[in-house]
């Protein structure tokens, strides 16, 4: 009765991380490496849609009035030298990047820390859809991608990372995170992921309907 299904988690495709007017660029980071993955993420997203995978748009969010900020979390801002709040609720920076608006039958999961799984509704939704494998794409590699991959792996999901569809502004951190990710996930090039998605037996939607 139990059948496997794959979900694509697209994390952080929001103005604050991908637009030159966003908060990441405002920290002084050169975000060209982040912006460069957009076509690859679009390719993976298209392939996952064609394969009927569950699509989950994972959006960072900071609640108004510090409601999602503990002192320890705020200390991370100092550690990283961040001045402005990322993805503040209701702002332009929180909105999805053009081309990454969720479609009708796709899910949005808000996260308040880098990882998409803990303290979010992701796992309830993934289990509801019978998902046991997640493909994780987006930015930044050393923050949301690494944290999400480890959390998903620890909750018994198989994790796939399309290497060309993840990035950090800082190439050194990206490379370091990829090295660590290889011990948690299948790190595969984008062509390989797209081919594998095309080969998938069948989709989440068929499982739900069947």
């Amino acid at each position: 009765m139990r059948r496997s299904a794959t979900a694509l988690l697209v994390s952080g495709l929001q103005n604050d991380f991908f637009d030159t007017k966003g908060v990441l660029a405002a920290t002084g980071s050169d975000i060209s490496a982040v912006q460069a993955i957009v076509p690859a993420v679009e390719r993976v997203l298209g392939a996952a849609r064609d394969a009927g995978c569950l699509i989950v748009h994972v959006h960072e969010r900071t609640l108004e009035g510090g409601m999602s900020d503990s002192p320890a979390w705020r200390a991370q801002y100092e550690l990283n030298g961040w001045q402005d709040t990322f993805a503040a609720e209701g702002t332009w920076g929180e909105e999805p990047l053009d081309g990454f608006r969720p479609q009708e039958d796709e899910l949005v999961v808000e996260r308040y820390r880098p990882g998409a799984i803990y303290d979010t509704r992701a796992s309830v939704l993934l289990r509801s859809a019978g998902v046991d494998r997640v493909v994780v794409a987006g930015a930044e590699t050393h923050r949301t991608i690494l944290a999400t991959a480890i959390q998903a792996a620890c909750l018994d999901y198989e994790v796939v990372v399309p290497e060309g569809a993840v990035a950090s502004a800082d190439p050194v951190r990206h490379a370091a995170a990829i090295a660590v990710l290889r011990s948690w996930a299948h790190v595969v090039d984008v062509d390989g992921v797209v081919e594998e998605l095309a080969r998938l037996p069948r989709s989440t939607h068929e499982i739900l309907e069947g």
Binding site: E64, M67, S70, E110, Y112, R121, L125, S128
Partner: protein, 221 residues
């Protein structure tokens, strides 16, 4: 304060619900469960007790705001195409007379019921199961405020309220259940659930909590 096995533990209800470390968690007071035109109203549930609980909750919410106690609104949420329902959860939800068409995300039936009105900045936590802690950021939001105690009320007693209160204790929060802000579809079920819960955490009436909060306003920095 009392000392148990060398640890400092809040003793009186007054200590437990001190505004500096307490949040008010309002569970599922939504149109589909509370309003005559909502799901329960339409299938003929007697809403007398639920209506009274909502009115009492409105006073408790005002008192919380006056005392600087964060108010957190829990919303049962159904997604279209059963996107938030596993096979096991669907079987559980469709037992007996319960049909699964309530609190569809974004519908009127899912909205907080009047006279309760959420204020800007008060978090809404959408949930897809009975417990407000399963698959939600509730624990993150509470610990971000340094919350140690949850004052809990809402609907329905034996369902989402009991699940949430038990899970709050398992997440290491002190719990005070506010008796007269809790109700369900039958008085028999309500009493049975309250008896089971009464061994597990503190109970108080709204008036007692309102009185404690009025005497201990939080210092505004």
């Amino acid at each position: 304060m009392q000392t148990i096995w060398g640890k400092q533990v809040y003793d009186s209800v007054e200590e437990v619900v001190h505004p500096e470390h307490t949040a008010l968690v309002v569970v599922d007071m939504q149109n589909d469960f509370c309003h005559p035109d909502g799901y329960y109203g339409k299938i003929g549930v007697d809403l007398t007790d639920i209506t009274a609980a909502v009115e009492t909750m409105a006073r408790l919410v005002d008192a919380a705001r006056d005392a600087g106690v964060p108010v957190i609104w829990i919303e049962q949420t159904l997604l279209g195409d059963a996107l938030a329902d596993s096979p096991a959860w669907l079987r559980r939800r469709t037992r007996g007379t319960m049909a699964p068409e309530w609190t569809l995300d974004g519908d009127w039936g899912q909205a907080i019921t009047e006279p309760l009105v959420r204020r800007e900045g008060e978090p809404i936590v959408k949930k897809h199961r009975s417990s407000s802690f399963i698959g939600t950021p509730l624990d993150l939001i509470l610990r971000s405020q340094g919350v140690e105690s949850c004052v809990i009320g809402g609907v329905v007693t034996q369902g989402c309220v009991e699940s949430t209160a038990r899970d709050a204790t398992f997440h290491d929060y002190y719990v005070v259940m506010v008796r007269d802000t809790v109700a369900t579809v039958s008085r028999e079920l309500h009493e049975a659930s309250m008896i089971c819960q009464s061994t597990r955490y503190d109970f108080a009436n709204a008036a007692e909590v309102i009185d404690i909060w009025a005497r201990q306003p939080v210092a505004v920095a």
